[in-house]
Structure formats: structure tokens, C-alpha cells
């Protein structure tokens, strides 16, 4: 089983929602669509499901063109951020309804309903009506109904966005296990990088109607092909600083420089953009080849185990350092911050990756 999108595009009026793209998804895989609001995640899902017709291109299912096949004739389940249940039916009947439509026997239905209810922690409330449940429980009920029917393609559009933090955390652990057992193709849209990392599988980074990169989730995270992907996949955002390559030296300003080695040495002398993630910007001196910058503290947010330190460095876009432990830093304080050159990504003027962080390759 496989789903292929070939040069698929969607234009509505004068607005392009999806620029022509190719994407191939295999059976038994979990695929995350990661991008900010309006990056095209929902539009793309609706094309996959057959809810919308593409402006151009084809949708191919197991080698068969299904572009014109309506959603009712495809074995697809889709779950939205706002869930829908049948208010007059019990939770049990809500979950069982797609199975009854499939004409399964009573004992099979009973087994499947209980399995999924246990996964979704709904087993104590199977005899209740949806409106007697909390918002989170209602959403889990709708999620259970979508998952129970064993669709070939399950599309989940930010399904946990309205749930409590802790519940989201638990379901993020449980859901991937369910995915791998079912053999279906799962597509999961989210705006949160941490959610993509917790789910694993593959990730398509999306930005303004385009897929900027698709591959195994950790690979996309560790080796973003462009500054755009890096930004989509960093929370808090990646920090950037200008760098000039001259011969075998990398000049970062403020008298900070490093020797260029590996891929970097082969680059033409020019100006580049250096990017590094907040967890690699340190408040303490580091070992190795390290750059030291002077920045001003905008505000420090303490989470108990870590501190987000927001910084202003020269005229760059704001920086964030994510430091272990508790650091009380008053607004306006000048701070020395450090970054290991091995954790820096280099991008050219077109914002394409020219050298991934050396530490990534070693890992």
C-alpha cells in the first residue's frame, strides 16, 4: 500500500494553497506535516482524503489513479481539531458506529471497542453520553471512532491541540504504538516541533504551501536543507548571526573567528549565515572551539529546571539561550554567551544549507 501525490497543486481564486509537489507515503508509516498556521497542512490533507479536488496533478493509491474518486468511496478517516460525536449515543455506540457500518459481528465489535477505549483511557465511561464528558474526553471519543475502523489512510489535523498538556503528552506516547500496529498510512499535522520529535516517523516540513523537506523526523531536525526548514523545526526559533569565510578562517565579528574545516573549507569565500539552536547557546564557557558573543538580556524565563534567556545581540533578530538550571538575570544585563562551532549550521545567501553542524554528523 502506498499513497503517491504527483505534481499535485491547489489554487483557490487568486491564492495558491499548495504549489506543485510530489510526495510518496508508504503503508505502516507515520508522517508528520509540520508547519505554522496557513502553511498548507490542512489543504494538503484535504487533497489526500479526496475532500478537495486538486487544481493540477494526480493522487495515486496502490498504483491506481484515485484523483476523481470522492472521499466516500475511499477508505479514509479524518479527524479535525474540533471533534464531532453523536450526542444521543453512548460513548460505546459512538466508537462502535463505523464498525456496525462495516457489518462486523458483535463479539469482534466488542473486542475492538474495548481495545481502543483502553488506549484512549475511555473504558470507565463507555456507558455515558458525550455531553456528560469533559472536553478532553469528548475529543478522545471522536479520536477513538476514527482510529477503530482501520482505514487505509488516517488523517489527523492537529488532533491534540485542544487537549490538556498532560493528556497530550500521554497520547503522543501511545498513538505511535497504535500506528505501527495498524499498518495504515497515518498523516498527522501539527504546528509544534516538539510534537513531531515525540511522534517520530517521517516529517514533511511545510512553509507557505510548499514542502521544504521530507524525510525521517530526526534527520530533518538534524540536517535541515534550508534556513526555512531549520526555522520551522526549532522551538524556540534558531539563532542567526552573519559570518564571513575568508580562506581557512570564519569571521563572526566582535573579533570572534574559527578555522574552517571539512565542508566549510571547500566553500567559496563569501558572506554566509550561521545558525544554532537555543540549547546550544550557553551562558557558561565551553570546551573546544568556542565563540564568545556579548548580548543584552531582554528577559529571562525560569521553568524550574531550565531557563529561557532572551537576548539581543547587535542588530540581529532576537536570540534565545536555553540553559540548564535556574538563572536569575535582570532585564538589560549584559551577558557573555558561548557557542561551540561544531553546533553551527551554515546557510548561503539563498538560505540553503551549505554545511550541517559538525556535531550532528558525529552523533
Amino acid at each position: 500500500m502506498a499513497l503517491q501525490l504527483e505534481s499535485i497543486s491547489k489554487v483557490a481564486g487568486r491564492e495558491t494553497h499548495i504549489y506543485p509537489m510530489d510526495l510518496s507515503l508508504e503503508a505502516g508509516t507515520l508522517n508528520v506535516l509540520l508547519g505554522p498556521t496557513l502553511s498548507g497542512k490542512t489543504s494538503l490533507m484535504r487533497l489526500m482524503a479526496g475532500l478537495d479536488k486538486p487544481t493540477g496533478g494526480r493522487v495515486v493509491w496502490n498504483g491506481k489513479d484515485v484523483t476523481g474518486t470522492p472521499v466516500q468511496r475511499r477508505n479514509v478517516a479524518m479527524v479535525y481539531q474540533q471533534f464531532i460525536n453523536y450526542p444521543s449515543m453512548t460513548v460505546y455506540e459512538n466508537i462502535a458506529s463505523p464498525l456496525r457500518l462495516q457489518g462486523l459481528d458483535k463479539s469482534t465489535i466488542d473486542r475492538k471497542v474495548h481495545e481502543i477505549a483502553e488506549l484512549m483511557k475511555l473504558d470507565p465511561m463507555l456507558t455515558r453520553k458525550p455531553l456528560e464528558l469533559s472536553g478532553g474526553q469528548q475529543q478522545r471519543c471522536a479520536l477513538a471512532r476514527a482510529l477503530v475502523k482501520g482505514a487505509d489512510l488516517v488523517l489527523l489535523d492537529e488532533p491534540l491541540a485542544n487537549l490538556d498538556y498532560k493528556l497530550r503528552e500521554e497520547l503522543r506516547v501511545e498513538i505511535p504504538r497504535f500506528f505501527t500496529e495498524s499498518g495504515s498510512i497515518f498523516v498527522y499535522a501539527t504546528t509544534e516541533p516538539s510534537e513531531a520529535l515525540l511522534l517520530g516517523g517521517n516529517t514533511a516540513a511545510m512553509w507557505e504551501g510548499r514542502i521544504t523537506q521530507f524525510g525521517p523526523t530526526l534527520e530533518v531536525y538534524r540536517e535541515p536543507v534550508s534556513a526555512t526548514t531549520a526555522q520551522v523545526f526549532s522551538d524556540p526559533p534558531m539563532n542567526f548571526v552573519n559570518v564571513e569565510k575568508a580562506g581557512d578562517r570564519l569571521l563572526f565579528g566582535e573579533g570572534q573567528s574559527a578555522s574552517a574545516s571539512g565542508d566549510l573549507l571547500a566553500l567559496p569565500d563569501d558572506r554566509y549565515m550561521a545558525g544554532f539552536r537555543p540549547n546550544h547557546l550557553s551562558l557558561n564557557p565551553l570546551e573546544g572551539q568556542v565563540l564568545k558573543f556579548n548580548a543584552e538580556v531582554t528577559v529571562a524565563e525560569i521553568t524550574g529546571s531550565e531557563t529561557f534567556v532572551h537576548l539581543q545581540h547587535a542588530d540581529d533578530a532576537p536570540w534565545v539561550a536555553l540553559a540548564h538550571g535556574v538563572h536569575e538575570l535582570p532585564i538589560g544585563q549584559l551577558a557573555e554567551v558561548f557557542v561551540d562551532v561544531r553546533n553551527i549550521y551554515f546557510f548561503n545567501a539563498e538560505e540553503e544549507l551549505v554545511a550541517a553542524a559538525a556535531a550532528t554528523k558525529a552523533a
Binding site: 505554522p36 498556521t37 469533559s134 472536553g135 478532553g136 490538556d164 498538556y165 498532560k166 493528556l167 503528552e169 504546528t191 509544534e192 516541533p193 516538539s194 520529535l197 515525540l198 517520530g200 530526526l218 531536525y221 538534524r222 526555522q231 522551538d235 524556540p236 526559533p237 539552536r277 540549547n279 531582554t298 528577559v299 524565563e301 525560569i302 521553568t303 524550574g304 529546571s305 529561557f308 532572551h310 534565545v320 536555553l322 540548564h324 535556574v326 532585564i331
Partner: protein, 364 residues
């Protein structure tokens, strides 16, 4: 600005509550100090919204009093309480300019245009809205509109408190950081009393000086983010704060030793006989190390590693210790052997609980 005091406050949505389980809010005595930033954190249904609605005056408590600077306001309607509110969804007038939106609460309270102008320009500058002041609110993005809502909450100088009800729900993760940061800055500069309701631990911990954790109608702990992280007063706090939450194991505790399934775990403090039916120890995944048997020494607990999740910034090892789930956080850059099958607890961070509540030991 004001100090807000809750006296013997309780609330039931039922006309004749029969017992504690009929109360959405159980008895609370609490002082919100003037000028501090508080977060009210808990899962849905814990009573945090009920409490916020009582403070704002949307709801009359069935028992007890609410006082602003010692004045009883329990029976005063919202508009007479000098509070500003920011809700989950932006409240802006689409047809008005951003300037007029920000000016609205001030004009409503009869301030002169000179004062209005001064305040609006100042707030706009702090929230990066100066460039869009003349634009209509209609065409702006959700986060820009929510920024205006924040601005409207902050624009009046004479408010007793500003209440926030999950204000960042509709905001993209990238912009959440920016808005959260602006809010924190504004608090540090103006020292308004702020109360911020959320179920998101990151938002609560990063915003507040003091976090109030609620569970099932009760306040289970009030403390600084660091206290909640290092010394959760209740196993629920340990579970609710932190991702993954604290590991909790049934144990027997004698002196400065805990025993779990016949294994000995050293404790940093000594404990006398513990009163309580259920004794547990709690240790956060951040204070557990996963090592090989050879490197564990005598206090290593044997575990089976179920799987290791690499989530970029760190890894989470999901292990099993005699059938119990035990999580370990492995910092980035820390190597873990494929043969690692022992865990070590940092004794200073192993807490002891009796019937869910923390037990204070004595220095050993």
C-alpha cells in the same frame, strides 16, 4: 494595583452540596500579593476557571469572601472591581483602528485624550504595535489581535489586577515565545498583580513568580517554579509538572534508606516512622542516570530498557523496573551503552511521600 485575599472561599455549582465531592472549589484561604505574577495551573476540571471567575466577579462564591486591599468585593459586579481581563480568544473591535482599540478601556473610564494618547503610545511601543496603530484591526493576524487584547488589558494604570485566561491558546508556537516574553517584560516593568490561568506547564512556569497548582478543587502546592520542580509537595505535582513527570515507586522507608522490591536506595535525609498507609518515593527522570552494571556499584537498580526516544534536545529512556515504568532523561551529548541495564538515583533529589503528600526528613 492591589492585594487580593480569598477568605474561606468555596464554591459548589449545586444548590445544596452534600459533601466535599459536590464542590468545584474546596476551601481556599489565600493571599495574592500586590505586584506579583501568579499562574494558576491544573488539568481541565480542577477548578482553576471557577476560581478565576470568582476573582473577576463573573461568579458569586457559595461560601467565603473575596477582598481587594481589605475591601470586601464579594458582591460587586465585574465592572466595579477595577480588573482587566484577557481571554483565550482576542476581543477586539474589527472596524476600529488599533489605536482606538487600545484607547477604548481608557475612554470608557473617562480619561482625557491627552492621557489616552500618552498611555496608548507607550503600550503600543512596548508591544511593537506602533507601526500599525492607524490600521483597522480587521486585517490583522490572530496573534496581532491577541497582542492588542493584551495591550487593552495593560493600558489602564489603575487596575487592581490583570487576569489572563489561557491567552496563548490560539497562537502559533513561534509567536507564543514572543508574546510570553513581552508579557514577562511588561510585568517586570509595571509590577501589576497578574493571575494567569493555564493547563500548560511551560507557560505557567516561565511566566509566574509563584505557581498555584490545583487538582480536584484543591490547591495542592504553591511555590516558585524551582520549588515545584525540585520538591513537589504532592505526587500529583510531580506527575503534572515535568515531561515526562516524576517517577513514583511504592517503597518502604527506614532511616536514610528506601527499599523497593528488596533493593536498597540511599536517601539524603533520615526519616522516622512514617505515618500513612501508602509510602512512595519520587525521583524526576532528570535525576536518574542509566548506566552499565559494571559502572553502577551497589545501589544500581536493575532495569530493562524498553526503548529510547531521541527527541533532539535530549533522549528519554523508557525502562521497566520489576514491571514498573521508570523514565530516564539523557542529556544531549551523553553517551549511553547498549548494555546499560542499571539506574542510579541522585539521592539529594529522591523525595519521600506518604499518602501522596511529601514527608520532610532530617539531615542525616
Amino acid at each position: 494595583m492591589a492585594e487580593i485575599q480569598l477568605k474561606q472561599l468555596a464554591h459548589s455549582y449545586l444548590p445544596h452540596p452534600a459533601g466535599p465531592h459536590d464542590y468545584a472549589l474546596k476551601r481556599i484561604d489565600h493571599v495574592w500579593e500586590d505586584g506579583k505574577a501568579y499562574a494558576l495551573l491544573g488539568p481541565s476540571g480542577c477548578g482553576k476557571s471557577t476560581l478565576l471567575n470568582i476573582i473577576s466577579g463573573l461568579l458569586q462564591p457559595s461560601e467565603g469572601q473575596v477582598c481587594f486591599d481589605a475591601q470586601d468585593v464579594t458582591n460587586l459586579p465585574t465592572e466595579q472591581r477595577r480588573i482587566a481581563q484577557v481571554f483565550q480568544f482576542p476581543v477586539v473591535y474589527d472596524t476600529m483602528s488599533v489605536y482606538d482599540n487600545l484607547a477604548f478601556p481608557l475612554r470608557n473610564h473617562g480619561h482625557a485624550e491627552g492621557v489616552v494618547r500618552e498611555r496608548v503610545l507607550k503600550i503600543a511601543e512596548m508591544l511593537d504595535l506602533s507601526a500599525v496603530l492607524k490600521q483597522k484591526a480587521r486585517g490583522l493576524t490572530a496573534d496581532a489581535k491577541q497582542t492588542i487584547s493584551l495591550g487593552r488589558g495593560l493600558v489602564r494604570e489603575s487596575v487592581a489586577a490583570i487576569l489572563f485566561d489561557e491567552p496563548l491558546t490560539v497562537i502559533d508556537p513561534h509567536l507564543k515565545h514572543t508574546l510570553r516574553m513581552q508579557l514577562k517584560r511588561l510585568h517586570q516593568q509595571f509590577n501589576h498583580t497578574m493571575i494567569y490561568v493555564t493547563h500548560d506547564q511551560t507557560e505557567a512556569l516561565s511566566f509566574a513568580d509563584r505557581v498555584v497548582v490545583m487538582y480536584d478543587g484543591d490547591v495542592v502546592q504553591m511555590g516558585s517554579p524551582q520549588e515545584l520542580f525540585e520538591r513537589p509537595a504532592h505526587t500529583f505535582v510531580g506527575y503534572f509538572i515535568g515531561s515526562p513527570g516524576m517517577n513514583v515507586l511504592d517503597a518502604r522507608v527506614e532511616g536514610n534508606r528506601a527499599y523497593v522490591d528488596g533493593r536498597t536506595i540511599p536517601l539524603a535525609q533520615g526519616y522516622d516512622a512514617i505515618a500513612g498507609e501508602k509510602v512512595e518515593i519520587g525521583v524526576r527522570p532528570e535525576f536518574v542516570r542509566l548506566v552499565r552494571k559494571e559502572d553502577a556499584g551497589e545501589s544500581g537498580l536493575p532495569v530493562t530498557v524498553k526503548r529510547i526516544e531521541d527527541i533532539g534536545r535530549f533522549k528519554i529512556a523508557r525502562t521497566e523496573f520489576f514491571g514498573r515504568e521508570l523514565n530516564v532523561v539523557i542529556p544531549e551529548g551523553t553517551a549511553v551503552s547498549d548494555h546499560a541495564n542499571r539506574v542510579l538515583f541522585d539521592a539529594r533529589h529522591v523525595n519521600v511521600y506518604a499518602d501522596g503528600w511529601i514527608v520532610e526528613g532530617e539531615a542525616a
